[in-house]
Symmetry: C2
């Protein structure tokens, strides 16, 4: 039986999603939990990989199991064998033909920044410090350029091998919230898929424009001409969270 | 010269504020940083202790130093010697007669809960999971009973030795925010001072009333009669954050 799982994780201690010969990964921990619970060796397939240090609030995966367990009960059966930084939030028997990777229609990521004069330990785990003021309206202005279908090859790390670098971005919003000494800035982006490091490079490009290090025509040129020299810095992983994966159907109750 | 410091810390790894013979404490780390920076042995005095595992966004302390350093530069001089989970956010030369403990007029704490069906790793570090629905309006209703001056002896852990258990609460608010699978609930309380475990017991009492485990007359009775049998559970430390300490003057730029 094929099951679907929604999984949240704090990526701080992991070398990303995918099983590696050296280093802890989230996929390995899930597969270990399946083995511990059911004595079964199974491969867990995610909507896509997440990089080392990246977090998830709603990664979706599938796995085929012989175990005789209801869809609803699988989550708790696995959670008892998972470390505290990984949790199966929901589980169900997958609909006919479901594939967590190939069936994914839209993904939503958040990139979290905070501006402050000095580092704030309570923010550092899930957000990245920017010293000095950031003009959030400028970030919103630049965000408009990313909407729609574009060839995002300038936003793809060179070591990536993909068939096409064309992707569609449905929405890209920037919200800020004052928190006393600091301001939290949340960049939220929804698209039909993302290239390797694409969200982190979009975040860096919005930030560089807001800081005045690149111009709006650089931002537009990076998208229209695909020139990687025009983009901002690829931001560090701890600010990135995979928020949700949309399959065009309601998977979980 | 007496300096004032505003300090944020992630309390997860510490046995609270106060120096102890066994176990890491925040006070010790600050005093170690002062020794490393200036080769001076000094005692850092806080507005009050925080317990093991409790966090701070705005603890205020004072320290008397012979070091020849401007108020503004002290923060960075200490931060280079502090671990990543402690940060001096601001520093200044203290006003005449300032004492971080005795001069404190008001303190504001937040207690953070989240409701979800299953644990969320990205919330667990700074908030406490409550399984099932919580009626936030009931929490707000019960919060009214705490406002003003009362003898809070029912809210004071028995091992505490204080001259009086009378305290004044100026405000007590409950806010909730939907976050997809879960709801974050923030209890924010401002008072002229708090007894040992008082905020955590207030949080537990509001929660127990919202869950229907105690009645509104239990809540009122706990305050009017000082009966500790009527209060809710003392909630765990990781949900508690010392937000700010108010001295009735602007200390830091």
């Amino acid at each position: 039986v094929r099951y679907a799982l929604k999984v949240a994780y704090d990526g701080t201690s992991y070398c990303g999603w995918q099983v590696q010969p050296n280093g802890l990964t989230v996929q390995q921990k899930l597969q270990d939990a399946i083995y511990a619970a059911f004595n079964e060796t199974a491969v867990v397939t995610a909507s896509g990989r997440t990089d080392s240090g990246v977090h998830s609030f709603g990664q979706v995966c599938h796995v085929d199991l012989n175990a005789n367990i209801t869809g609803e009960k699988l989550a708790d059966a696995l959670n008892v064998h998972l470390p505290s930084d990984i949790s199966v939030l929901s589980s169900c028997v997958a609909p006919e033909g479901f594939d967590a990777n190939r069936s994914a229609k839209r993904k939503t990521y958040c990139y979290n920044l905070y501006t402050a004069k000095r580092r704030h330990p309570l923010n550092d785990r899930y957000a990245v410090l920017v010293k000095g003021d950031v003009d959030v309206d400028k970030m919103r202005e630049a965000a408009q350029s990313f909407l729609g279908e574009h060839d995002f090859k300038a936003y793809c790390a060179s070591r990536s091998q993909v068939q096409t670098t064309v992707r569609t971005i449905y929405s890209l919003s920037v919200e800020s919230q004052n928190q006393g000494d600091c301001t939290a800035i949340k960049i939220k982006v929804c698209g039909n898929g993302f290239l390797y490091n694409m969200v982190r490079t979009i975040a860096g490009t919005l930030l560089y424009y807001a800081l005045g290090r690149i111009t709006l025509s650089d931002v537009k040129g990076s998208i229209e001409k695909g020139d990687r020299n025009l983009v901002g810095k690829t931001m560090p992983p701890q600010g990135l969270v995979l928020e949700s994966v949309d399959y065009g159907i309601k998977l979980f109750d």
